[in-house]
Structure formats: structure tokens, C-alpha cells
Symmetry: C2
Subunit: 225 residues, 2 copies
């Protein structure tokens, strides 16, 4: 039987988004550990952009690159729960929010936290920069304010049903939370929404994984936090 | 009759991609000039991410944000020439290349050139940094090598037919070319492909526009260059 392989590392938010989607859709895959910062030749041959996630089905000669191209591919090819769903206008709102988390949240929060708390430690063997951490945490707080606002007006981030927007947001938040970048105080709406996502079977395996050397806060895995 | 408004500025590569798509699909729109670096309150209210392009159809109460959400929306709602076309695998390859140009080409080439040659001049009234310009031009050359390679193997960037990948690439290249960041020497394949795109009715109006204060090289608008 042919099987998808997913190249990723445990704290890659884009791989987490794809894994949550595959989990919700019931698509099987096996994990291949890749550390993109090592720029391994064989990986660059696979994906010249050098980024995770990449998905390969060797038997069928299929290669998928870029987390959103991957998400759209499985949305188009796998029957069952739709994650980019609704009218064209609703789908546009889902994709807007996915881009918001993959771009704004990543560049202001997840990216700096990964650099300061993971890459500096593993690659450069340096301590994190306190000012950069404070900036990222401040930005995270603004983003959580925005999610609070969305949850005040909608059941899920993009509307009445769970969508890829929720998965993208949860993927980034979970990485930021692992790296100690989220202060949950005063964000009850976001907390309730995130607690619901944490309890899903698609999310449990991700929360159980650990990145070597870097440890999460004690409450990280708990549904009640 | 209801009409789309497109918030953009002449050198925004993401707005150019959308305009090329709308042109190829025959969708009418009117331009609204927006300078996102001014962070105008009314524009932030429209799009909290503060980026162009944004599309508004006031009569129908429609708001579209993010260039790819916009592209997918018109792909889904407008009959006629498909620009994210083919099998699911081919569509994944189109989306991979769109992400390649919107992320890699933008962060290495278009973004730095816009900052050094446009924003510094208009906002900061400073001269560009020579080292940053050289880095961007070197990166542009590597990207053109990759496009040469693709064109050696395919008729269009993502396969046998023109797609959003070609429009995304041409959008970024046209901005880089306007800003003097492209050295065409030794890139005959890319040059031939780009010349074909330049002659399309969807591209002509963009090439005729000018950004105040910043002028393009003499050959910029020519189909033979």
C-alpha cells in the first residue's frame, strides 16, 4: 500500500497545520524528521525552498511542497470533512485568516520564538535575546486579542464551522505556547476555543511530542490550563 | 452595476499578480490608490494586516483580503480561462510556485528592492544601501537561473499551460525590473517567456503605469529588451 511521508520537525508550525488537517481528514502518513536549518543536500533537491513541510508518496511518484499547496491538495482529493468549506466568500475568509497566521503571527511571534528559543540553542549555542522575546510575547498578546474578538462574533475563527483557519491558528499558538511565548491571562475566549481544539484526536499526538533540548511549560499538554 | 475596487499601489507585486489574473479572466475593477506604509486608519479597519491588495464590492458587501485568497476566489467564481488548472497534482505545483515567488523571491528580491529604492526614497528620504541592492540583484540572478531551468523543461512555469505561477513570477519580476534589479544577460529562456507575457493585453496597462519619484529603466516597457 502506498503511504505518504511527511518531512517535518516537531515545532514546525506549518507542518503542524498540515498534520492537523490530515488528522481531521483521516489521511495516514509517516513522519520523516528533517531539520531545515541544516540545509541537507537531499532535502534541498526535494524542495529548493528548503522548508518543511514536504510530502512524498514514492510509490505513486507524488511530491507536494508548501503547506497551503498541501492543504488545498488534500481538500481537493480526499472526501469527508471539508476544511476550506462554504461559499466562495467564506472560503476567501478562511484563506485570509490562514495567511494572517502563516504570515503575521509567524513573522511576529512563532518565527522569532523559534529563532530565540530553539535555533539559537541548537545551532548557535547562544542564550535567547530578552528584548526579542518580550517583543514576540507582546505581539502574541495582540494576536490573542484579535482571536478573542473573532470568537466573540463567531463560533469558529472563520465562521460557523471549524476550518483550516482554526487549524492554522492552533498550529502557531501551540508552537508559541511550547516555547513559553503565550500568557493566557485575560484571554478566556481564545482559551476556551483552544482547549476544545487541544482535546481533539488530531491534536493529541502533536502535543505529546517533544523537541530535544527544548522543553515546554508544565501546562502545555493539558486541556485544562 | 456593482464594481470591484482594488486597493493597491503601482509597484505592489501582490496587487500586480491579482491584476494580471483579473485581466486574463476579463473581470473589471477600478483602482484605489493605497500606500500601505502610511498605515491609514480607514485601510487598517478594512484589513488589519495593513497590506495590499484588498478588493471591495460595496454594493454587494464583499471584502476580499490577501492576494491568494483573492486569486482563489475569482478562480472559483468566474467562468472562463482557468489559472489554477489541471489535476490536483498540477494545481499543487502551481500553488508551490506561487508561494515560491510570493515568499522566496519577495523576501530576497522584490521586498529589499522596494525598501531600498522606493520606501527609503519616499518615506525616509535616504539613499539606498549599495550592499543590500547587490545582494538583491545576486538573488534575482539565482531566481532567473531557476526559471531558465523550468522553461527548459516546460512550456510555462508550472507545466503545459499558462497559470497563476506565470502571473506571480511575472508580477515580481516586473517590479524588480522597474527598480533596476534584473540583469537579463545570459537568461534567454526567461527573457523569451517574459517577453511573451509582456505583450499580453492583461500586462500592458501595468507596464504603462509609473510610481512617482521612482523611474524605471528605459527598456522596462518594451517587449523586445
Amino acid at each position: 500500500m502506498s503511504m505518504w511521508q511527511l518531512y517535518q520537525f516537531p515545532l514546525c508550525p506549518f507542518s503542524r497545520k498540515v498534520r492537523l488537517l490530515l488528522g481531521e481528514k483521516g489521511v495516514g502518513y509517516e513522519l520523516v524528521r528533517e531539520s531545515p536549518w541544516e540545509r541537507r543536500d537531499e532535502f534541498i533537491d526535494l524542495n529548493p525552498a528548503g522548508r518543511t513541510p514536504v510530502m512524498v508518496d514514492e510509490e505513486r511518484g507524488q511530491l507536494l511542497i508548501d503547506s497551503n499547496a498541501i492543504a488545498e491538495y488534500f481538500e481537493e482529493t480526499v472526501e469527508g470533512k471539508a476544511m476550506i468549506n462554504g461559499t466562495a466568500a467564506q472560503r476567501a475568509e478562511i484563506r485570509r485568516l490562514v495567511a494572517w497566521f502563516d504570515q503575521d503571527f509567524y513573522y511576529e511571534v512563532t518565527g522569532p520564538l523559534l529563532f530565540e528559543r530553539m535555533q539559537k540553542r541548537i545551532v548557535h549555542r547562544q542564550p535567547p535575546d530578552g528584548g526579542a522575546l518580550r517583543e514576540a510575547m507582546k505581539a502574541a498578546n495582540n494576536h490573542l486579542d484579535y482571536i478573542d474578538y473573532l470568537i466573540d462574533h463567531r463560533t469558529w475563527l472563520a465562521g460557523a464551522t471549524m476550518s483550516l483557519a482554526d487549524l492554522a491558528a492552533a498550529a502557531h499558538i501551540s508552537v508559541a505556547d511550547y516555547l513559553g511565548g503565550i500568557d493566557w491571562t485575560g484571554h478566556d475566549q481564545t482559551k476556551g476555543w483552544y482547549s476544545g481544539l487541544k482535546s481533539r484526536p488530531s491534536f493529541r499526538p502533536l502535543l505529546a511530542e517533544r523537541m530535544e533540548i527544548v522543553s515546554p511549560p508544565k501546562y502545555y499538554e493539558d486541556v485544562d490550563f
